[in-house]
Symmetry: C2
Subunit: 239 residues, 2 copies
């Protein structure tokens, strides 16, 4: 794929690609933006279009195609690449010599978001789909089961995790104690948005003022606003 | 907590801590091992004991307590710390100047395991629990729903992901093209073991010979065997 010296974002609406678009806007670099749309009806409703498979076998978004033609997947890797390559002044980088905000803490937070919080939120979301998307005649059963599992386990687990994240922002504007967002912030926007917007989620920022302020601080940034204008939608409660 | 100059692993049976124990054995360093056991009965059956909260508020395992008394959570962060600090000869490190196995590819693989494969496996596992652990009188409904969701979506998604991982091992003994395992291998042992051992999982290594050989190669290492001897159990199909 010709890239004319710029990186190219393969961007899907209503997806975890939106925070990558935010990062591209923060970096103030030239890039190409290819917009893809989820299926809106039929058996593939809400699924990504097959055209995303033309640039990567998994067919997911985001994908970033480098000027050299390499396709990078996974938000953590794309954000690493973009900041490493394009943030020449270190504006969005951590200070690894700060022992309260070093690379170990960055690794902990990134892994916690990906391997602990996100799977819990996904499970909660699937249970909610089970409750709302089942045929009406089995809904009394599936809804009851979804509520039972939520109450017994997931709500409690997710509440502990969200409180832990709120504690991580004690005395910090952004997760890594910097004055500008770093990779951790770009990555956490997705699970926090997902957790708030989904039906049936237990993420309630009103109970977690530091996390709520962090969220508002990120959303108020002009680059976030520009990314919303350039994207093709970012909602999760229509499925 | 006194650590007498050694790192301390807070290790839980039948958990994702086992591959960290494997890494500790590979490093051939002195360490302390504290063994914790999941509840075997009662309302907390299969849950971690509250004593794990004494060293970290989330109460999960693995936790690694450094000689300086810092508690590190999350496998990706613990493995980063251990290899960075204790692998002085670089035996378990990647070669970042190898453009086919550089840090971007490492980030992609780690994030793919944590944020894509693992949530899909967890969702499949929860559906299977729904099928097998529901009260018998609703099992015909819940089992039917679990099978429906599996067939429609999860089996297909997971099969694509496992094939992708198998492809990543083309021409490589370990994921990062090294002659010894690196952080990526230590991290992937958990989802691959989980995916194989769980009831109802669609991970079938017989269909993926490169991944099967990688798995056997890791398991045949003397350090893996020693870690199994020192741990307190590593099975997932008893819940």
């Amino acid at each position: 794929m010709a890239t004319d010296g710029k990186p190219t974002l393969q961007h899907l609406n209503n997806s975890q690609s939106q925070p990558i678009l935010w990062l591209l806007e923060e970096l103030e670099i030239d890039y190409n933006l290819n917009l893809f749309e989820r299926h809106t009806s039929g058996p593939k409703k809400s699924r990504a279009p097959d055209t995303l498979k033309e640039t990567h076998p998994l067919g997911k978004s985001p994908q970033l195609i480098t000027p050299e033609g390499r396709t990078i997947i996974e938000r953590a890797a794309i954000a690493y690449y973009l900041i490493d390559k394009y943030d020449k002044t270190g504006r969005f980088k951590i200070n690894p010599s700060d022992s309260n905000n070093d690379i170990i803490r960055e690794e902990e937070l990134i892994s916690f978001g990906n391997a602990s919080l996100y799977p819990a939120l996904m499970t909660q979301l699937v249970f909610d789909l089970l409750r709302t998307q089942s045929p009406f005649f089995v809904r009394p059963f599936t809804g009851g089961i979804a509520s039972m599992v939520n109450k017994a386990f997931l709500n409690h687990e997710i509440a502990i995790m969200i409180k832990y994240l709120d504690d991580q922002l004690e005395g910090r504007d952004y997760f890594m104690g910097t004055t500008e967002p770093t990779r951790v912030d770009f990555l956490y926007m997705w699970p926090i948005d997902l957790g708030q917007q989904s039906h049936g989620s237990s993420v309630d920022l009103d109970k977690h003022p530091r996390l709520k302020q962090w969220w508002a601080r990120c959303k108020a940034r002009p680059a976030w606003q520009r990314a919303m204008d350039k994207g093709n939608g970012y909602v999760f409660n229509e499925y």
